[in-house]
C-alpha cells in the first residue's frame, strides 16, 4: 500500500506516494533525480549516502522514505545556490585537494557540515572522529581533514591555513 509523504528537499516541498520499503536514498536519487547523494556500501558503513535530515547527518541507505515524512532534507545539491558561492566546506575541499575520485565527497561534506555547525573550531582529532563514519578509499583523509580545518577557519573569520597539498 502506497503512503503519501511530504518532504522538503533543499527548500522545495514535494508530495510523494511511496512504498513503505522505499529507502530514503532511492527516493532522493530515483524520484527526485538528485544523484549527488551516492550509494557506496548500502550497509550503513561507508557514509557516501549521508544527507542532513532536519539538520542532522544521517545515512540515507538505512532510513525509510516514510520516516522522512514532514521533515526537511539537505543534499549536496542544496548547499550552494546554482552558480553561487561555495560554502566554506566546498571551498575547503576545492582548495585543499580534498576530493580525489569524488565518490565519498558529498557524504564527507554533509557530515562535516553538521560537525562544524556544532563546533567550528574542532581539533584534528575531533575531525577524524567526526568523519569516522565516512570512508574514502583513495586514502585521501589527510587533505579531507585539511579541508575541514580550512572551512572552520573560514567560518571563524580567521587567517586561512596553507592549502599546499599533502603528499604521503
Amino acid at each position: 500500500m502506497l503512503k503519501k509523504i511530504t518532504v522538503t528537499v533543499n527548500g522545495t516541498q514535494h508530495v510523494l506516494e511511496v512504498e513503505p520499503r522505499l529507502l530514503l536514498v532511492h527516493m532522493i536519487r530515483e524520484l527526485l533525480n538528485l544523484t549527488g547523494t551516492h550509494i557506496g556500501c548500502d550497509t550503513t558503513s561507508c557514509g557516501a549516502c549521508t544527507i542532513l535530515l532536519d539538520g542532522k547527518s544521517v545515512k540515507s541507505c538505512t532510513i525509510l522514505a516514510v520516516q522522512a515524512n514532514g521533515k526537511s532534507i539537505t543534499t549536496i545539491e542544496g548547499l550552494a545556490p546554482e552558480g553561487g558561492p561555495f560554502t566554506p566546506l566546498q571551498e575547503g575541499f576545492k582548495e585543499n585537494h580534498g576530493l580525489h575520485c569524488g565518490f565519498c565527497t558529498p557524504g564527507m561534506i554533509l557530515r562535516a557540515t553538521e560537525l562544524l555547525a556544532h563546533n567550528n573550531n574542532p581539533t584534528e582529532e575531533e575531525i577524524r572522529w567526526g568523519i569516522s563514519g565516512n570512508l574514502c578509499r583513495c586514502t585521501g583523509y589527510n587533505n579531507i581533514v585539511k579541508a575541514i580545518l580550512y572551512a572552520g577557519a573560514k567560518m571563524r573569520g580567521e587567517a586561512l591555513p596553507s592549502t599546499e597539498p599533502e603528499f604521503v
Partner: protein, 289 residues
C-alpha cells in the same frame, strides 16, 4: 538491497501502538531508530509484515533525574546520550561507550531502547546496563512493568519483552559519592561489533575499600553476561593488583566467547582479562576523583 514489502503505521500514542501490536500479531515489529532492524530487513533476515514506527509518539525521548533514579526514554538517541552532561556527571562510562557505538551518523538515529530491545549480546548497552544495575520499563495493554536488567536478556535476539509490550524507559539508580565507571571495547575498526567489551562501575569508601561492583561483558557470551564472580572478588576488599587480577581471571573463565573473524576463543578470553583489569583501574581512578 531492498526489504520485502510491508505495511507501515506511525501511531501518535503509546496506546494506539500497543493496540496495533495486538491487532497485527507476531508479524508486526516496532521501528525505533531502525539501525539494527532495517539492515536486517534489507538482507531479508527479518521480514515483518507490519512496521509500527514509534518515533511519532511524544514523551519517549528524555534524560532526567527523579529522586535517586536517572530515567532515559527509549527513543533517546546515542547522540543525545553522548552530549548529556547529566548522564556523564553520574556515569562517566557513557562518554566512553557512546563514542564507540557505530559512527556519528548512526548515533544521530540509533536509540538506546532499540539497542536493548534488539537483545543482541554484541550491542554495547546491555553490558553497560548490567554494570549500572538498570531496570527496564515495558509498557503493554495492562500498563507498565519493571524488569530488572538481570532478568531482561533471555537468548539470542530474545528478551523478557512480551509481544504487545514496548520498551519505554530505562531507569538507573544514581550511585553514591565515591563511584566511578568505565567502558571499553576492542574493535577492529569504527562501527564494528566488539571483539570483547567490558563495562565496570565501582563504589569505593574513604579507605579505598570496594563497597559495590558492577561488571558487564559485551559480545563474549551468547547472552549479555554479568561477571558475578569478578564482582564478588572485589566487593568488601581494597582494590589492589591482587584483587584486580582475580576479578580479571574469573571474567575470562566465566564468559563463553565463540571463535570467529574477530579472534579465537582463547584470544577473546585473554582480551576480557586485559579489559577487566584496565576498566577496574579506570573506574577506581574516577571513583577516587
Amino acid at each position: 538491497m531492498i526489504a520485502q514489502s510491508f505495511q507501515y503505521e506511525s501511531p501518535g500514542t503509546l496506546a494506539e501502538a500497543i493496540s496495533m501490536l495486538h491487532k497485527y500479531g507476531e508479524e508486526a515489529k516496532i521501528l525505533s531508530g531502525g539501525h539494527s532492524l532495517i539492515p536486517m530487513m534489507k538482507l531479508r533476515l527479518a521480514t515483518p509484515e507490519w512496521l509500527i514506527d514509534i518515533n511519532g509518539i511524544p514523551g519517549l525521548a528524555h534524560i532526567k533525574k527523579e529522586g535517586a533514579v536517572i530515567k532515559i526514554g527509549a527513543l533517546t538517541t546515542e547522540a543525545e546520550i553522548e552530549h548529556s552532561d547529566l548522564l556523564k556527571k553520574h556515569f562517566p562510562l557513557f562518554a566512553d561507550v557512546t563514542k564507540l557505538i557505530a559512527d556519528p551518523q548512526v548515533r544521530n538515529v540509533a536509540t538506546i531502547g532499540g539497542n536493548l530491545a534488539h537483545g543482541d549480546a554484541a550491542n554495547d548497552h546491555p553490558a553497560v546496563m548490567l554494570a549500572l544495575n538498570a531496570t527496564v520499563i515495558a509498557t503493554g495493554s495492562g500498563g507498565e512493568r519493571s524488569i530488572p536488567i538481570d532478568e531482561f536478556f533471555h537468548g539470542f535476539y530474545m528478551t523478557a519483552l512480551q509481544h504487545g509490550e514496548i520498551l519505554t524507559e530505562i531507569q538507573i539508580p544514581v550511585p553514591p559519592a565515591g563511584t566511578g565507571s568505565a567502558y571499553h571495547k576492542l574493535e577492529r575498526k569504527v562501527g564494528d561489533y566488539a571483539t570483547a567489551g567490558v563495562a565496570v562501575q565501582l563504589t569505593l569508601d574513604s579507605k579505598g575499600v570496594c563497597k559495590a561492583a558492577g561488571i558487564g561483558l559485551t559480545n563474549v557470551n551468547p547472552i549479555p553476561l554479568r561477571a558475578s564472580r569478578s564482582e564478588k572478588a572485589l566487593t568488601g576488599k581494597p582494590i589492589t593488583d591482587k584483587t584486580i587480577a582475580e576479578a580479571a581471571k574469573y571474567a575470562a573463565e566465566d564468559c563463553s566467547p565463540s571463535s570467529d573473524l574477530r579472534g579465537s576463543e582463547e584470544y577473546k578470553r585473554a582480551m576480557v582479562a586485559v579489559l577487566v583489569k584496565r576498566m577496574i583501574n579506570k573506574a577506581a581512578e574516577r571513583a577516587r576523583g
